[in-house]
């Protein structure tokens, strides 16, 4: 046994145990760690936004950049950002919608062609069966199976008609694919999650207690 002497290792170990204690039940140690965690996370976020956004992208260029147009542009953005504070002033609180509109509008618009290009067209191309797939029986069979699975899964999400007639068996095939896929994803992820716990135990037993080297 070879206990750690660094006070920070001790603190990290205590916090680790406090979180694990939640598995038994909610308790004062967990509650303390939880409140501390939330506070630190916010303090760290303030630090990051200050040093990595506000100072380099706003304050420094406004103070140092010789280009007047750039200065005015950045100050304007700063004012738009500051409109968030109007939420506390009831009469003009609607102004808070302006920065929200700029964020929301831009990203919504940007996602239109990108959803089509990067997702829909790419996935469509990947699903089409071509003669290249027919070279081997297995690639051919699996490509056809994927095509059937994709079509069936899509039809499971068809809302315009009741699941009757032809739609019923097709969407049932869809849910079968979905369930097998979900089960596989679940099983596949187990290993990685256990690795995370092993990592924490290696910290507790190794770095802190020195039980394992």
């Amino acid at each position: 046994m070879n206990l750690a002497t660094d006070p920070w290792v001790w603190l990290a170990a205590i916090l680790t145990l406090a979180i694990f204690s939640f598995l038994y039940r909610e308790n004062p140690f967990y509650r303390f760690a939880e409140h501390l965690y939330v506070g630190l996370a916010n303090g760290y976020a303030i630090t990051i936004y200050w040093h990595q956004v506000l100072v380099p992208s706003l304050f420094t260029p406004v103070a140092r950049n010789p280009n007047i147009a750039t200065k005015v542009w950045l100050i304007a953005i700063g004012i738009i950002g500051a409109l968030y504070f109007t939420r506390f002033i009831p009469r003009v609180s609607w102004l808070v919608r302006i920065p929200i509109a700029i964020v929301l509008g831009y990203w919504s618009g940007a996602s239109l062609p990108r959803a089509v290009d990067a997702e829909i067209i790419q996935q469509l191309r990947a699903t089409v069966v071509t003669r290249a797939h027919l070279a081997h029986w297995d690639t051919a069979l699996w490509a056809i199976l994927i095509l059937i699975g994709v079509v069936a899964t899509i039809s499971y999400f068809f809302f315009s008609a009741e699941r009757k007639g032809a739609l019923k068996p097709i969407s049932y095939v869809g849910i079968i694919f979905i369930m097998v896929g979900f089960g596989a994803s679940f099983g596949y992820t187990v290993m990685a999650r256990i690795s995370l716990f092993i990592g924490r135990l290696q910290f507790l037993l190794g770095d802190w207690l020195g039980l394992i080297k």
């Binding site: 303390f32 303090g43 509008g105």
Partner: protein, 222 residues
Amino acid sequence: MQRRIPLILVLVTGIFGALTFFIPHRTVQAADESMRNDVQRIITAFSLVLGVGSIVQHHLLKIRRKAEHWQYSYVTIAAIAISAIIGVFGGLDPARPGVLPTHIGSFSFHIQTLFTNMLVPLGATMFSLLAFFMASAAYRAFRARTVEATLLLAAAFILMLGAVPLGRMIFGPLPSFAEWILAVPNTAAKRGILFGVQLGIFATSLKIVLGIERGWLGGGGK
């Protein structure tokens, strides 16, 4: 006006965001870059002030009302204040110290030290709780109640068994079968779901840009 100005803004910025995808010209791309790097980042940074204001207010209210466990609210407020002061005034990069000293002798309390020794272990431990939660979720939910549930269970079972040496011992081709499930039925299902999701994203984005979807204005579609 309270609605029209925001709606005009989503339309204009939305059209701009969509068009930049098709136009490679330097002028347009430079404007797009400024939109992403300056406008969006700075606006987001300001929004954090709202968030921090909200959580501080939330806990002050608890303290004032002496709500249950109100004492812990002091922990959060103090942690925000202390770490923000250390971070903002002590600097983010240990090589470029700020105005506030961040160590006493060899004992460091730099924001990166707090990050590495408190935030990282707290986060890693929360994350690792999943090992336990996966076990208990599997125990409760993986019951062969219906055909669908049985398939879910069987697929998970095969994947888990395929990942450990025992799986190969029980049945040689098991790991390859597990890979096949991931590569074929799993891919088909995910792709099928994603088509719908992407169309939903497309339709919703379009409705936002055109001002049809107005929930974000706060309250109803008036």
